[in-house]
Symmetry: C2
Subunit: 153 residues, 2 copies
């Protein structure tokens, strides 16, 4: 590459993944709307059903989300009684988050819609490409950027 060449900013991986996230989120949210859940909320409830009970920190790590972000995202769910948050049994600092009955019911309603969204996505994008994409995205989310981080302090 010539020294003077302007780098091609259209090749930005960050922009690509953010644009796709916006586009796909709007699609899924459209389906989930009747259930009264957003994709983020749906993901949280789904994760809780699998995990049973988790602290905010571990749940945040599972969802590749900042702790403080998750803490706030839990608020609307708790307000609606879809989750319950109690003190951690071993560590008094931590808080255990668990799915309530109402939350499980809401999740079931959401799942019916999610199946449509997921199916719709795969129909238009193709099963093969969908699988490839999800595999690559999972790999990205699992990457440890620590070694290449800007801040080495």
């Amino acid at each position: 590459m010539p020294v003077d060449a302007r780098p091609d900013l259209t090749l930005c991986h960050c922009l690509a993944v953010r644009q796709a996230a916006r586009h796909v989120t709007r699609f899924y949210d459209q389906f989930l709307a009747p259930s009264g859940l957003r994709t983020t909320q749906f993901s949280i409830l789904a994760k809780l059903r699998r995990a049973g009970s988790e602290t905010i920190t571990t749940l945040a790590r599972d969802l590749v989300m900042d702790r403080t972000t998750l803490g706030r995202n839990l608020r609307p769910l708790e307000r609606e009684g879809l989750i319950a948050i109690g003190k951690g049994s071993v560590d008094q600092r931590s808080r255990e988050v668990r799915l309530t009955e109402a939350g499980a019911a809401r999740l079931r309603a959401g799942i019916a819609r999610w199946i449509e969204a997921q199916g719709g996505f795969e129909t238009v994008f193709g099963n093969r490409r969908s699988s490839s994409l999800r595999a690559l995205l999972s790999a990205v989310s699992a990457v440890d950027f620590g070694a290449a981080s800007a801040d080495m302090s």
Copy 2:
């Protein structure tokens, strides 16, 4: 698949792309921070440099972003004098957004950091996989979900 089988929610494409977006954004933002730009702002300025001048609606479409979201995202940039917004010459309703000199300078500073981030990403994720990923993400962003939309009104 058995009728009673619970669908595997961990295969959600929406969750996958959102998690990846969060993870990658944090990585790029770390690098961009010294330039005083966030990835979203960097993308907007970069787009404006290429486009020269665009209305909010077309710019939003280019960035796969809601018009109202973009409208608000422009505010901090205008406040800092990195962009200028004037009335559209042909259509009086529209507003033309363009890069200022200060914006171009800021963008140049950001590009230096972006190169590090982009390079770091490709180093840890691999050039081949990075290319495949970006291609798939571009395809996703270009998909017209209209036909498979939940709302057919």
